[in-house]
């Protein structure tokens, strides 16, 4: 029937937008079309307009974040794993701050809401493992624990990304926030601190900066 839409153009538009974001260059319909080698019309056939492109960019951001979190190894210490997830999360925001901001400009509006849910599920699952391992209170709700944990990390990330706190605040307050959330959930303070510090130094702060596949 119709002429098929070129999926490569769609991919190029999203990836180019992410690249411009990482370069701190303006992301406009024309700058995208020029770099990709198409016209601004392609943007409308694939995304319906700029809001649709941003939705796709946020989606891609959560896909990349999910990949990073999924790459965090699972050890037999779930609290350590939670800390490693937190470090990887904050490092993700630090490595590509403009993408992080774009993601949370409207994080509830994604092409595939599942990609954000999947990333968050890694947190919930780790919290549940910690609970089943006896590290957290038996009555603790892994979803609530993960939500508080995430809220703290997101708040710290946003304050750094928007320039309110210096970049060092991530390494300074990140572990402290993690320990707070997990001790509140039932972990024993001394043991929690040890696990968190182990997980933090073991995983975080590895990424040199924003990367664009290609």
């Amino acid at each position: 029937m119709p002429r098929a839409a070129d999926p490569a153009v769609r991919l190029a538009l999203v990836e180019t937008a992410a690249e411009l974001l990482a370069r701190r260059e303006p992301v406009t319909a024309r700058s995208l079309a020029d770099r990709v080698g198409t016209s601004t019309t392609a943007l409308y056939t694939h995304f319906g307009g700029m809001p649709g492109l941003w939705r796709a960019v946020r989606n891609e951001g959560f896909v990349r974040l999910g990949r990073r979190l999924a790459a965090v190894p699972r050890t037999d210490d779930p609290v350590r794993d939670l800390a490693a997830l937190g470090a990887a999360y904050l490092d993700s925001a630090r490595a590509d701050p403009f993408l992080y901001r774009a993601m949370f400009d409207a994080a509830a509006d994604l092409e595939e809401p599942a990609v954000a849910d999947d990333a968050f599920a890694l947190l919930v699952e780790a919290a549940d493992r910690a609970r089943r391992a006896g590290r957290l209170a038996e009555a603790s709700d892994p979803l609530a624990v993960a939500t508080c944990y995430w809220a703290g990390g997101h708040g710290l990330a946003m304050l750094v990304v928007t320039g309110v706190l210096p970049a060092e605040a991530l390494a300074l307050h990140g572990p402290e926030l993690a320990v707070a959330a997990l001790v509140a959930a039932g972990d024993e303070p001394g043991r929690c601190r040890a696990s968190v510090l182990a997980g933090w130094s073991g995983a975080g702060a590895r990424d040199p900066g924003p990367t664009t596949p290609g």
Copy 2:
């Protein structure tokens, strides 16, 4: 010598911007000029352009936030006061979410950085009172405690304001986050929980919505 700039116009522009923000209506140079009854040029004499106007709007947002936090009464239980401050903070974000978003779009770029510092200082001072009262660890740093406390509150507020979490999450996770931060800082869990719940129900959730003086 010269013709003096009308301070009333300046005030009207900032307050009108805040009002449009609260009404979820677009804040453009022309819509502002029309509503205030001037031309777009006034925007340039007073603020140098739209970025300058946004800087003034953020400033006004922090002034209002500071007023709200300063209105929180001081009791002889500093942990309860910290909870009341947290409740007032989150209620502020809930009452005027678009202003809150605008404030933290570039919270480090204000006309008078002191207004944000002053608001934050209320938190630090309460944390210090808690420490001196023996509720927090002697070695705890009030600044670090306040920063973690703020990061958690800001993260929760942003997740709600951007639609990721429902509005109920504020009352659901707010006290939990507060308890976590303060127990981690040294308070005794049971006593902390009681103080936080008392402070939260005593102060928060009072504002009916965004208000515009005049």
